[in-house]
Point group: C2
């Protein structure tokens, strides 16, 4: 029988791990998503006063709201809107950081269709303002997470716009990006990479 957390997620016991060096949790083996892990990572940063980074709420177009007496307003009709920025932003040592996180099941390349034109535009605006801007890419099959600076993403985006390949090869991600080791706390320690690359 599966034991479940209150949110419905299956509890994965790690009590029988015999090795002293615990094996990293694998994306293939569990219900966790990249977004969950980044949420946990950002909470860790917040509680340890390392950085203040939040995921932006999903933008919603509200069409109809009811106001029942003696209870909270209920949204009765609404639609998902396309986000005009990236999902995550915040502050680290006074500096602005901004990123988007995406994953692929692809083994050989990261498809650029994961990004939207206006997100690229937003990242270009951030880079012009000297913000620290990047994407976090998960290759789910290999359990590998990379930080790729926005400037390199722009290069591959322009290559796509020029009619060439519509993805970044895994070799290119390995060459231009930085592997973020998956850990326990924090799970995806991207600030460590920022420290070595940008600071």
């Amino acid at each position: 029988m599966n034991i479940r957390y209150p949110n419905g997620k299956v509890f994965q016991s790690t009590a029988n791990t015999s090795s002293k060096n615990k094996a990293p949790v694998l994306y293939g083996n569990r219900g966790m998503t990249l977004e969950d892990d980044l949420h946990e990572t950002n909470l860790y940063y917040l509680h340890h006063q390392i950085a203040v980074v939040h995921k932006k709420p999903t933008p919603i177009q509200i069409v109809d709201v009811h106001y029942p007496k003696r209870s909270a307003a209920v949204i009765k009709e609404a639609y998902f809107k396309q986000a005009s920025t990236t999902d995550f932003n915040g502050v680290y040592k006074g500096k602005y950081i901004d990123f988007e996180a995406k994953e692929t099941k692809n083994k050989t390349s990261f498809p650029l269709q994961n990004f939207h034109e206006h997100q690229i535009q937003h990242m270009q605006q951030v880079v012009k303002q000297n913000g620290i801007c990047f994407v976090i890419l998960l290759f789910r099959v290999f359990n590998e997470v990379y930080l790729l600076p926005a400037e390199r993403l722009f290069y591959y985006w322009e290559r796509k716009e020029a009619g060439e390949r519509k993805s970044i090869t895994k070799q290119e991600v390995e060459k231009d990006g930085y592997l973020i080791p998956i850990g326990f706390q924090p799970r995806i320690d991207y600030i460590k990479i920022i420290d070595s690359v940008y600071c």
Copy 2:
């Protein structure tokens, strides 16, 4: 007869303004809100590559979504959530900026009930990370907009927590804050204040 914009707002003609120095647009006289003006200001900053600042979407708790065939997903039941951060953040010359904007019709003081405990906490976290953090306060009756650094807000918040007055007097806002002149483009040029106060 009132002439209206497509969005329903009444058009206020300024053609018969005789004075060379046009009178500033008054909050009392028009449908514009502080939020509209900050939106226009942020668009101006964005287009002129002065800063990249966006308002965060309102957080919504989605309960029920329908997926009709051949059309967009419809949210059928959702509720407004309390925001856990401030409304605006972004980047200016590499630096993180973060603020909340509030208004009052009160003539003598700014009520602190406009802010929530978790917003104050968020601002404290930002200040600890050396982010530029402040509030923009509109006294609607006087048509006056002030930038008040978060550190000063904390002082008055703690005074309230200590059981003393539940507002900041207008004199205190004048003393600790910076009057932002209301202009045409940009409407509320808070970056100019940041330049002189923080940079």
